[in-house]
Amino acid sequence: MIEIEHLTKTFKVLNRKEGLKGAISDLFSRDYKYVTAVNDVSIHINKGEIIGYVGPNGAGKSTTIKMMTGILQPSSGKIIIDGRNPYDNRNEHLKDIGVVFGQRSQLWWSLPVRESFKVLKEIYMVEDAVYQENLKLFERLVDLESLYGKPVRQMSLGQRMLCEVVAAFLHSPSVVFLDEPTIGLDVAVKDSIRNLIKKLNEEKGTTIILTSHDTKDIETLCQRVAIIDKGTIIFDNSIEHLKEMFGKYRTIRLKLNTDIVTYETAANMLSEKFGQNAIKINGEDFSIEVNEKVVPVKQVLAFIMDALSFDDMNMEDVGLEEVIKKIYEGGAVHVKAV
């Protein structure tokens, strides 16, 4: 159970000037500005939930996570994780969380991964029985045994990330923070990482806070997503809800039989029939974006079948990626829906 109320973090930064001259005068400068990285964030996360924490680069995701791990002290507001304040009860808190940073390694670089696991076992004082049981569970989920003897520095990024994720679960923490666990991985490895996370969450009931720029991660793993932009939470609800809020958009792609009908006349016919509100036509690949709030896609299809002659057609959902892109591009528009 994680409760975050009105969390704010402000950094004091020096206003840097340009060039060498600027760098020299910066040495004596007292010209500070205050940057609010996280502004009045409130989230409640239930036990066992996987929540996607997304936002553009520099939105304040990492800062929030650093505060939740107890490394940074909040400027104001409060965080309570399992009844504890992470910053004040840091030692107790850290025993009970696991962390994966996609850009950093927590394993001992030149040693076989087995050695890293052993040290982690000692650091977290994991009992032998629990340790063996966890290893067995991991082996069931991914094929790791062949990797145990391999030094981390010789592993591929994919192999290493699997080990990193597993290492974060080794002491059966109640909360795990995964900060871009799939960064730089190929499709197949991304898939096995997602599988691993999902299974670990199911088997151990771990609460997982996941940040990622790959919306596929979010879509396959999370039921709920919180979007942060410029330090404020602008959306916090289910993925379904997010898609709905932006209208249920479907896209129809047509390849017209141009001997009979030109793209221009087809476009005119469609907009005349349904109006600008209901459909938007993108000229380049002739894709028709249908807003299902205004007109059911069935109706548009029926019209196309009836009135237009075409060679090929396909239809797609608007993915989470499109929706999130719309939110980012719209800036900090408040679409808060709780």
Partner: protein, 265 residues
């Protein structure tokens, strides 16, 4: 409690051993160093008779070899480890462990120092005992020597840790590390012999702990005239400084952790 740090010591030591070539080169370098030291002083003595300043060639060589050996064994410059993890932000990995950061760093230093003792410390002491019999008087004083060295080690660690933690604020450790090395080297008398110091500076050097870090443990092995009283005085002096430095390091760490922000996303 301490069991949690055992693995870190073991891994740091194992990491040093992993790179076999590096390990062998380290061993070779120390062998070459002592050979050079030997012949340089041999040449100096060949030019100026059997005794300089009342010391024979063997006196000088044994003293220099053992001192620089202890210097090698104690210094691992842990501040540079701290420096690099601050620069690339990887310090967060160490910070999210349920460990005391100062103890964590101490464990790493122990891991490194064990390597130094094996590649440098033990060989040099053995060679000196075989080639220059009569200088070292191993007996029950070895226990005192080891204890004394542990205190020196802790003091050295505190100095390095303070230099490293300072980088939480400055983001760079180079300047402070250099100052630390110069001050320690100067007052330990390893650059200029202490007997050359003017009266005032000599007094200061006696009060500061740096001289006793190397000089006193060695005296325990070499000077048979030391009585119980002398032992207690030396250890008491070191113990006091040790506590003082540890407190200072801890306070500095507490202050500096407020200044730490983690680099990178």
């Amino acid at each position: 409690m301490l069991k949690r740090y055992r693995g870190i010591i073991r891994n740091c030591f194992a990491e040093e051993l992993t790179y076999r070539e590096h390990f062998i080169v380290m061993l070779l370098i120390s062998v070459v160093y002592y050979i050079v030291l030997y012949f340089v002083w041999k040449a100096i003595y060949a030019g100026s008779g059997s005794s300089i300043n009342g010391q024979t060639f063997a006196d000088t060589f044994v003293n220099l070899a053992l001192t620089s050996c202890l210097v090698q064994c104690l210094s691992s410059e842990i501040e540079w480890n701290i420096h690099f993890t601050i620069l690339d932000g990887n310090i967060i990995i160490k910070m999210v462990r349920p460990l005391n950061y100062m103890m964590y760093m101490l464990s790493e230093k122990i891991g490194y120092v064990i390597t130094h003792i094996i590649t440098n410390g033990i060989p040099v002491f053995l060679v000196v005992m075989i080639l220059f019999p009569g200088y070292l008087h191993p007996g029950w004083n070895i226990v005192m020597f080891v204890f004394c060295m542990c205190l020196s080690f802790l003091m050295m660690f505190c100095l390095e840790f303070m230099a490293g933690v300072f980088a939480f604020y400055t983001q760079s450790v180079w300047g402070i590390s250099t100052i630390k090395n110069v001050v320690v080297g100067f007052f330990a008398g390893s650059n200029v012999p202490l007997s050359f110091f003017p009266e005032g500076l000599y007094r200061i050097a006696q009060i500061l702990p740096f001289k006793s870090m190397y000089h006193e443990p060695l005296r325990m092995l070499m000077d048979t005239s030391m009585d119980a009283h002398a032992y207690i005085r030396v250890i008491g002096f070191q113990f006091g400084w040790c506590i003082l430095l540890m407190a200072a390091a801890w306070i500095l760490f507490k202050i500096m952790s407020k200044r730490l922000d983690i680099n990178g996303g």
